[in-house]
């Protein structure tokens, strides 16, 4: 994906999904072998949806983005139950981007706010960890026409990133 070779990216994701296919029919067999192994496979399958959703963001496929990001968040919530972790914050952020692609800025901003809230609640997480959903929230508000709120969010996010990386850094998005 980082190579912008999106056709190859999609074909590799589909290949990974094909290789994980038996999991859908053999969960009991896997559980007998090891719960840990079953969880590893389930994580793989979740990441198939996560990767495909992220790819869809890059190639402007709104429905593909929404379908895959929704499924990724659902599978993650199913696994975590009432718990929260960083990946759940990422899942809500990606879902917010998918809604933004589908021109639903209201839903996207809701998702970004949930993502920020989760990341703020996690112990041991740096303030900068929430900068991604914050940036995206700024865009969501901008698209929604809430320009003053958008500017405030961008200023807040910029301050966080300057603390983490310095002023006008050239490394943080490398």
């Amino acid at each position: 994906m980082l190579r912008s070779d999106y056709t190859a990216t999609l074909s590799l994701i589909e290949m990974a999904e094909k290789l994980c296919e038996p999991l859908k029919n053999d969960k009991e067999g896997l559980s007998r072998e090891s719960d840990e192994l079953k969880e590893e496979f389930e994580a793989l399958l979740r990441n198939v949806y996560f990767h495909r959703g992220a790819l869809a963001h890059h190639i402007n496929k709104p429905q593909m983005a929404l379908d895959n990001c929704t499924e990724f968040k659902r599978l993650l919530q199913e696994k975590l139950g009432s718990r929260e972790d960083q990946s759940l914050g990422v899942a809500w952020n990606e879902l917010g981007v998918a809604h933004l692609q589908n021109k639903d800025s209201k839903k996207s901003c809701e998702c970004f706010r949930i993502s920020i809230a989760i990341l703020e609640r996690l112990p041991g997480i740096t303030p900068n960890a929430k900068s991604m959903p914050l940036i995206n929230l700024g865009f969501g508000l901008w698209i929604a026409g809430q320009l003053d709120e958008a500017a405030a969010v961008f200023e807040r996010t910029l301050a966080l990133r300057e603390i983490a990386y310095g002023i006008d850094d050239t490394q943080s998005f490398a």
Binding site: M1, L2, A8, T9, S11, L12, I13, M15, A16, E17, K18, L19, C20, E21, P22, L23, N25, D26, G29, L30, E33, S34, L37, E40, F41, A43, L44, R46, N47, V48, F50, H51, L55, Q86, S87, V90, A174
Partner: protein
């Protein structure tokens, strides 16, 4: 005793270069053993089992190198005195054209030697029979006699004659003894030890060896020439295909001939086989390329025999010509290599392999790997860049190997190859959420093309019905590569 070449002293040369081919038959059947009658030696003598291939293409530089090394009148090989044994070893993968080059050489330089002998050196029985034919053709024994059937005797007679290849020219007033120039071709000498009892150690003459083994023990770089035949490049392959299909003037086919050439990958035998198939089925090159894109077509294509044995010197298919079926310790490695990008396979991926696989006798140690690699190198099925520690192989060979796998084997090898790559892949510390650790990128870049190569081959892949720990690495690798 003064010596000179036969060329200047006998009338016999006037009968050479007449275009006569095949085993030379003595013009006069001697009535008794001629061992003690050197004057009855039949010269010139041309014992070559193949016709000249009038569609021979290219390789001019190699032919010139061989001539420079084997020229019987050149004293350069062995100092000022001349004489001694001149050797040239021609190596390369099966089908790359070694026998064709040797055949072309013996026809092109036929008039430069008084005697040329072709020896099938791949098996001991063939060596014996070849020497028996030479003994008969030279007139050292009489055809169909008990002596001619005695393979030890005929071998010794030929070696003795090669050691002192002269005849008494009793027709001359001065009774001068004539030195004879000869060329011995050991074709397909893939097992050097077989030549031990047939090697003209003390002889004065020229020896051309063809072998898959690029490190032929008999080639002494200090005293002989060597050449490793490389595949044709794409332009050469394209020209060769147009020539052998007689389609040089077909504008439509000329547009697609480079695509065909890329499929063939510069292996002349494969070009000949595939071209034959195209012509027999009256296909255009465009139609062939379209058909070849479906891997299911490969098996039938590679199964077809190579045509015209008299010209090409083969009676087998591509698979048998490459000797893939005869590999003893490298079959698994070759199978793995057939799923990787052939232009540069880093050897480090085979170090400390930890895979769980159904492949039998799998590479389980560095020593096992090195033994397998040695066999493939000796067969010229792969070559190695020692500095970069990279293996290089042929695309068509890969297609052939995969075409012969059962569906079950295909899936097993495919998944195992992914496991091997996974063992070398620099995973992110926290899987799933990429932190763009740029220090990984160089290695990722090196391995990525191999993951893509496997991706292009997954149409035949059947995932396992039930998965276990052995199956977790392949999808994990593919997913990381996707990012």
């Amino acid at each position: 005793m003064a010596t000179s070449t036969l060329a200047s002293l006998t009338d016999a040369r006037t009968s050479r270069s007449t275009g006569r081919t095949g085993l030379t038959t003595p013009s006069i059947a001697p009535s008794q053993s001629l061992r003690d009658s050197p004057a009855a030696i039949h010269l010139p003598c041309f014992v070559v089992p193949y016709d000249q291939n009038h569609r021979f293409y290219g390789r001019m530089d190699v032919l010139s190198k061989i001539w420079n090394a084997l020229n019987p009148r050149s004293p350069s090989n062995y100092g000022s005195g001349g004489g001694g044994l001149r050797t040239f070893a021609l190596s390369g993968a099966g089908g790359i054209g070694k026998t064709q080059v040797a055949t072309q050489f013996v026809y092109e330089y036929r008039s430069e030697f008084d005697a040329i002998f072709w020896v099938h050196a791949g098996e001991i029985d063939k060596l014996r029979r070849s020497f028996g034919r030479i003994a008969t053709a030279l007139g050292l024994v009489v055809a169909d006699t008990a002596e001619a059937q005695d393979e030890v005797l005929t071998r010794d007679l030929v070696l003795s004659w090669l050691a002192q290849p002269s005849i008494s020219n009793k027709g001359r007033d001065d009774g001068q003894t004539v030195q004879v120039s000869w060329l011995l071709v050991f074709d397909n000498a893939d097992i050097p030890q077989l030549l031990d009892d047939f090697w003209p150690r003390t002889a004065i003459g020229s020896v051309l060896i063809t072998s898959r083994d690029p490190f032929h023990e008999l080639s002494d770089p200090a005293r002989s020439g060597t050449s490793h035949l490389a595949p044709f490049d794409t332009s050469e392959t394209a020209d060769f295909i147009l020539k052998i299909t007689y389609r040089e003037n077909d504008e439509e086919d000329r547009k697609f001939v480079r695509a065909v050439a890329k499929i063939i990958g510069g292996v002349p035998l494969a070009a000949a086989q595939i071209a034959g198939s195209i012509v027999r089925r009256d296909m255009t090159f465009a139609e062939f390329v379209q058909e070849y894109n479906d891997p299911r077509s490969h098996k039938d294509l590679f199964r077809q025999p190579v045509g015209n044995k008299r010209e090409l010197g083969y009676e087998h298919t591509i698979l048998s010509v490459w000797g893939i079926e005869k590999l003893k310790v490298s079959g698994d490695l070759l199978d793995l290599l057939s799923f990787l990008d052939p232009d540069g396979i880093p050897e480090h991926i085979f170090q400390d392999i930890k895979v769980s696989t159904d492949m039998g006798n799998f590479i389980d140690s560095q020593r096992t790997y090195e033994n397998a690699r040695a066999e493939l190198l000796q067969s010229s099925l792969v070559s190695r860049h020692r500095t970069a520690k990279m293996l290089v192989t042929h695309r068509l060979m890969q297609d052939t190997v995969r075409a012969w796998m059962s569906d079950e084997r295909y899936s097993t090898v495919c998944v195992t190859t992914l496991q091997v790559l996974s063992g070398a892949w620099p995973y992110e510390k926290e899987f799933g959420f990429i932190k763009n650790e740029t220090s990984r990128w160089r290695l990722c870049n090196e391995l990525y093309k191999h993951v893509l190569c496997i991706r292009s081959l997954t149409a035949r892949l059947s995932p396992p019905l039930k998965i276990s720990r052995a199956h977790i690495q392949p999808p994990r690798l593919v997913l990381e590569a996707a990012w």
